[in-house]
């Protein structure tokens, strides 16, 4: 049996200035439906024909970029909005964690707010009274429950809102990115509560950007993109496909604007921000980052081999030259720097156009953005052409290890410890 059925749902929002409204009051009242009234106006289609089912007892995660229609979808399922076209069917009592504590009145006590909020979510007074202690305990607000809500910290406010909503004991729970509130221990409590929901065979629909939550917790995942379903199915597969797509898009946006790299007069390398300087007897004309298969990219998996390829040109034959490369973290920490002189190379001759390659056997960095320096200079350090942090690469990783550097490593365990998954 399906708990949620969505059939070919479209949702069109109008984009109009505040002044633009109905043609006439009469037509507004007679038509009721607004969409017809406003054909021809600037509209924004948040959902373009979405269909899916969520079987009762399943946990489904919805992923997608900002503005892809996730929250709109959730609101339509919650019944807060009506689809412009198509049908949404929901079977069972539903509670929506879309905004926590919406409807709390700041001037009155937490206790009164719990009752009113609970009733708004569909509980009777008696049901709330029965669950009251549980609600307060879950939020951890026993000492503050009689204080006006305006004295609460934002975390307390959210916790109370979450606690009320989750204790409504719905058959279907809609969650919109609310786990980001609260501290670690509260997040764990929430996850435990979700796990309990799952065990008890409730249906959960989860909108989140915490992708590991989707792969760990959900039975299926739905990837919305630009108001359409891109993929629906096994969470691991959907999340991976989504990540690949995000990486591809970042790749396009990170492609540097080399032509605009400005020439800067300062040569103080320790304080210089990004820029380009040097005497230009030799020049770095082009820099590209290549994957193992030779395709250019700006997003790399941690541990992947990377090839930095420089197209260089000497305007006159040179006998004093050094090629250098440096990698900086987003915070500006130098992760690694080297050049041909440090590594003991003796310059011979450099004339005309040439290519220089720098090969990482394995890019041993944790996930993050990194800036790259490339340079040609004399042995005494005087630069011919210095590109300071003009290039950015992104390193991605499925692991959440920390630091900067990921050395090749493995774990060993003697007998007495049984562990799996490594």
């Amino acid at each position: 049996m399906n708990a949620i059925e969505v059939r070919n749902v479209h949702k069109v929002y109008r984009r109009y200035g505040r002044r633009k409204s109905f043609g006439t009051l009469k037509s507004a009242l007679l038509s009721g439906g607004l969409a017809r009234e406003l054909k021809g106006d600037a509209t924004f289609e948040a959902l373009r024909g979405v269909s899916f089912d969520v079987a009762a007892g399943k946990t489904c995660g919805i992923v997608g970029r900002n503005g892809s229609g996730k929250s709109t979808m959730l609101k339509l399922i919650a019944g807060i909005g009506k689809p412009t076209a198509g049908d949404v069917r929901v079977v069972g009592r539903l509670s929506a964690l879309i905004e926590l504590g919406a409807g709390f009145h700041p001037e009155i006590s937490g206790r009164d707010n719990v009752f009113i909020n609970g009733m708004m979510l569909g509980l009777s007074k008696r049901e709330i009274a029965q669950r009251f202690d549980q609600i307060v305990a879950f939020a951890g607000l026993q000492d503050f429950i009689d204080a006006p809500v305006k004295t609460y910290s934002s975390g307390m406010y959210m916790r109370l809102g979450f606690s009320v909503a989750i204790n409504v004991d719905p058959e279907i729970l809609l969650v919109d990115e609310v786990l980001a509130v609260g501290d670690e221990s509260f997040t764990h409590k929430c996850l435990d509560k979700f796990a309990e929901f799952k065990r008890r065979g409730k249906t959960v629909l989860l909108v989140t950007h915490m992708l590991d939550l989707v792969t760990r917790f959900c039975d299926e995942a739905l990837w919305l993109d630009d108001g359409r379903i891109r993929q629906h199915g096994d969470p691991k597969r959907v999340v991976d496909a989504y990540l690949l797509d995000v990486a591809a898009q970042e790749d396009r946006s990170l492609t540097p604007t080399r032509a605009t790299a400005t020439e800067s007069a300062t040569v103080d390398m320790s304080t210089a921000a990004e820029g380009r300087w040097g005497s230009r007897e030799a020049e770095i004309i082009d820099v590209s980052f290549l994957r193992r298969d030779g395709t250019a990219a700006h997003v790399f998996e941690s541990g992947e081999p990377v090839d930095i390829r420089m197209h260089v040109r000497a305007h006159q034959p040179l006998s004093d030259f050094v090629f250098g490369v440096g990698i900086f973290s987003a915070e500006g920490v130098c992760c690694y720097g080297t050049n041909t002189a440090i590594e003991g190379a003796e310059p011979g001759e450099f004339a005309g156009d040439a290519e220089v390659g720098f090969h990482f056997e394995s890019l041993g960095l944790v996930s993050g953005s990194y800036r790259i320096d490339v340079a040609i200079h004399r042995r005494n350090g005087a630069p011919y052409d210095y590109h300071r942090q003009l290039y950015t690469i992104r390193v991605t990783s499925t692991l959440k290890d920390t630091g900067i550097f990921r050395p090749p490593h493995h774990w060993t365990f003697s007998s007495g410890i049984r562990i799996s998954g490594l």
Partner: protein, 263 residues
Amino acid sequence: MLHSLRQLLRHRALIQSLVARELKARYRGSVLGIVWSFLNPLLLLLIYTFVFSVVLPASRSGQIEHFPLFMFCGILPWAWFSSSLLESASVLIASGGLLRKVLFPAEVLPIVTVLAGLVHFCLGLPILLAFILYYRVAITTDIFWLPLIVAEQLLLTLGLALLVSSLTVHFRDLRDLLGNVLTLAFFATPIVYPLSQAPEWSRRLLVLNPFTHLAVSYQEVLFDERPFTDWMRVAVMAGVSLAVFAIGYFVFDRLRDTFAEEV
């Protein structure tokens, strides 16, 4: 519409709690607290008494005995009526966050506004009673008509509040317009003058104002010592109030789905 009304009935506990919250929250932090509910109509009365007895003593109203009591019979219900409508005009917009994020019947909000006004009105009644005793006006069995008149006013106010609140979401100018319309309506209602003393030509217009009949009924029941015989007026007003309520609810129900996007 009937379905929505049934839904609404299921939310009566919520409405009740929200009214209680409204009353609690309104005076939270003020020194006099709930005393303001008594003080506000009293101060209003003082101002009108001053204007019509001291500043403008020549006005015809001077001919009425116990003129302050006469005015109070109209001002008290009017204060409920006008404040409810003014607040309903912004109640949906002010609760936009709620309408966008939580599924619950939006009509609860204007209804709560009107009911909170009713509570304030009822708190003003003891003061009115004190005035009646002070002026030694006889309290007759006419007073049993009072609940019926209050009920009619409640229906009328609810209907208009639903209408105003839902339309303001789409036509925000209504909010400013309403304030002026209500000022006009106040003087177009026999509150600070008796209907019988209005010029003949204007009386024909005044009877078109539904609140005229409510005000006259209040005056006849509470102020006029003669036995109440004007049941025809009450009966017609019952029909009018019901019709206004039905229209208000119909319009609100029609526009309901648009609130989440427009507020």
